[in-house]
C-alpha cells in the first residue's frame, strides 16, 4: 500500500508539474510575442481575448488541428521520435528544480519540487543536453539538406557550449560546496550573498551558454531562417513542429533561467514581505527578470556565424571559465 501511495504521490505531482509547464510554456509564447511586439513598437497579439490573452490557446488548437504532413523518404520512426526526444528531456529537468521553500498548508507539507538529489545540478545539465539529440535526429531523419545542416550546426554549437557551461558552474558549486540546488540556494544568504557578486565571469559565460543552448539569437544558427529556411525543423508540421520551439525556446529557456536564478541570484531568498508565498514570488520574480533579459537580447542582436560561435566557445568562453575556477579555488582555499 505504501508503495502505491508513493507512486501515486509522485505521479500526481509530476502530472501537475507537466501540465503546469505546458500552460506556462504556452503563456511564455504570449509573453515573448508581446515583448517582441512592444520592442518593435507594435502591440503583438491583440484580437483573441483581452489583449490577446487567449492567443496561446488559439495557437495550441491551431497547431494540434493542423494537417500533419510527413514527407516521403523520411525515416518515419526517427522523424516522429525526434520531436519527443527534444521535448521530453527538457521537461524532465523540472524533476530536480526546486521552485521555493517547503511550506505547510492545511497540515500538509508541500514540497515545491519532485525530488531533491544531491547531484541535482549535474542531472539537470545531463538532461538538458540530451534534448539536443532531438535536434540532431530531426535533421537526420528529415532526409533533406537544410535540416541536416541545421542539425549538424546545433551539434557543433552544443559541444562547445556544453563544456563552457559545465565549467562555468564549477565556480558557484565550489563556493556552495554542493551539487544540490537547494543547498546552493541556502548558501547564498542576504543581498550580497548572491553569487553574482563573486562570480561575474561565470555568470556571463552562463548567459552566453543559455542563449546557445536554447538557440536564441545571437546563436540561433540551427534555424537561421535567412540561410536554412527553418533549419532542422523545416520538414515538420503540426504538433510535431510545435514541440520544438516549445521545448527549445520556452521550456529550456525557462528551466535554464531557473538554474541561473538558483546559482547566481540566491534563488528564492528574499525579504519575507509576501507572507507564506514569499519564496515562490521572489523566485518567479527573479526568474521572470532573467527570462525577459534573454528575450531582450534575442530581439536586439544579430546572429553569429557558426564557426565564430564555436571559436568563441573554445577560445574565449572556455579559458574564461578556467580562469574563474582558478580564482575561485584560490579564494576558497585562502578563506578556508
Amino acid at each position: 500500500m505504501e508503495l502505491i501511495g508513493v507512486i501515486l504521490g509522485l505521479v500526481v505531482k509530476s502530472v501537475i508539474f507537466v501540465i503546469g509547464m505546458f500552460l506556462l510554456a504556452a503563456y511564455l509564447t504570449l509573453v515573448e510575442r508581446k515583448f517582441a511586439g512592444h520592442i518593435q513598437q507594435r502591440p503583438g497579439p491583440l484580437h483573441v481575448g483581452f489583449h490577446g490573452l487567449l492567443q496561446p490557446i488559439a495557437d495550441a488548437l491551431k497547431v494540434i488541428t493542423k494537417e500533419d504532413l510527413v514527407p516521403d523518404f523520411v525515416d518515419k520512426l526517427l522523424f516522429y521520435m525526434a520531436s519527443l526526444l527534444a521535448f521530453v528531456p527538457a521537461i524532465m529537468i523540472l524533476a530536480v528544480i526546486p521552485f521555493g521553500e517547503k511550506i505547510t498548508l492545511f497540515g500538509y507539507e508541500l514540497k515545491p519540487y519532485i525530488t531533491d538529489l544531491n547531484v541535482g545540478l549535474i542531472l539537470a545539465l545531463a538532461l538538458g543536453s540530451i534534448s539536443i539529440y532531438g535536434v540532431i535526429f530531426a535533421g537526420w531523419a528529415s532526409n533533406s539538406k537544410y535540416p541536416m545542416i541545421g542539425g549538424l550546426r546545433k551539434a557543433a554549437v552544443l559541444i562547445g557550449y556544453e563544456v563552457a557551461l559545465g565549467f562555468a558552474l564549477v565556480g558557484p558549486i565550489m563556493m556552495a560546496g554542493s551539487f544540490s540546488l537547494r543547498e546552493i540556494v541556502e548558501a547564498q544568504q542576504g543581498f550580497f550573498g548572491a553569487f553574482i557578486w563573486y562570480q561575474p565571469i561565470a555568470f556571463i559565460v552562463f548567459l552566453f551558454a543559455i542563449l546557445a543552448e536554447t538557440g536564441r539569437t545571437p546563436f540561433d544558427v540551427q534555424e537561421a531562417e535567412a540561410e536554412l529556411v527553418s533549419g532542422y525543423n523545416t520538414e515538420y508540421s503540426g504538433m510535431k513542429f510545435g514541440l520544438f520551439p516549445l521545448a527549445e525556446w520556452y521550456i529550456a529557456t525557462f528551466v535554464l533561467s531557473a538554474i541561473a536564478v538558483i546559482l547566481f541570484f540566491g534563488g528564492w531568498n528574499g525579504p519575507h514581505i509576501f507572507g507564506p508565498f514569499s519564496s515562490y514570488i521572489w523566485f518567479l520574480l527573479k526568474l521572470g527578470i532573467v527570462f525577459m533579459f534573454l528575450l531582450w537580447v534575442h530581439w536586439t542582436l544579430p546572429r553569429y556565424r557558426v564557426d565564430q560561435i564555436t571559436e568563441l566557445a573554445w577560445k574565449v568562453m572556455l579559458p574564461l571559465t578556467f580562469i574563474n575556477i582558478f580564482l575561485t579555488a584560490f579564494i576558497v582555499v585562502i578563506k578556508g
Binding site: 531582450w296 537580447v297 530581439w299
Partner: protein
Amino acid sequence: MVKVRYVERPTLSTVEKIFFIDFVYGLKTTIRNFFRKTITTIYPKEKLVPPKRFRGTHAHRAKDGNEPPSFVVLAKFMEIHDYESRCVACYMCQQACPMPTLFKIEAEQLPNGKKRVTTFDMNLLNCLYCGLCVDACPVDCIIMTDEFENAGERRNQCVIHKDDMTERGISFDRRRGNEPDRIWIDDKAREKLWGQIEWT
C-alpha cells in the same frame, strides 16, 4: 557642389569590448522603443483614409451637372440620361492603356442617330493601376477612387461593369468630391505613426 569623401570604419576599443558597451547601447535603444507608443494601425478596426489622389478601383463619374466643357460638346452625339455614366465611348482609355485587352467597351447606334454605351467592362486582374486611362479621359468620366478592398474568389468577380462603376463614382464624389487636393486627411489613425505635423 558634389564632394567625394571616404567613410571611416569605426572599431571597438578594448574597454568597449570587455564591458560589452556595444551590446549595452543596442539593448538601451531597443528598451527605449519598448516604452514608446505602438504605431500599428489595427487594420480591420481602424482604417486610414487614403489620400484623394489614391489610385484604387476605377469608377465612372455620372452626368450630374458638373461636367467639363468638353463633355458638353461631345454629349450632343450621345444619349446619356442624368445620373448615368458620362462615358462617350471615345475609347481613349483603351488607347492609353498599356494592357488594352482589359477593356471591353461597346456602344450602339440608336434610331435617333445618337450613340449609347452598352458595355464598359474592365478586368482588374490585368490592370496596372497606372492611371493612364484617367489621364486620357477627355470628359472626366473614368476616375480612380479610394476603394481598395476588392478581392474576389473568381476571375469574373474582378471584372467591373459600367453600372457599378457609376455607382461607385457617385458615392466617391459624394464622400470626397469637395475635399481639397491635400496630401492626406489628417486623422487620428495617422497620428499614431506620424505624431503631430505642423501644417502651414
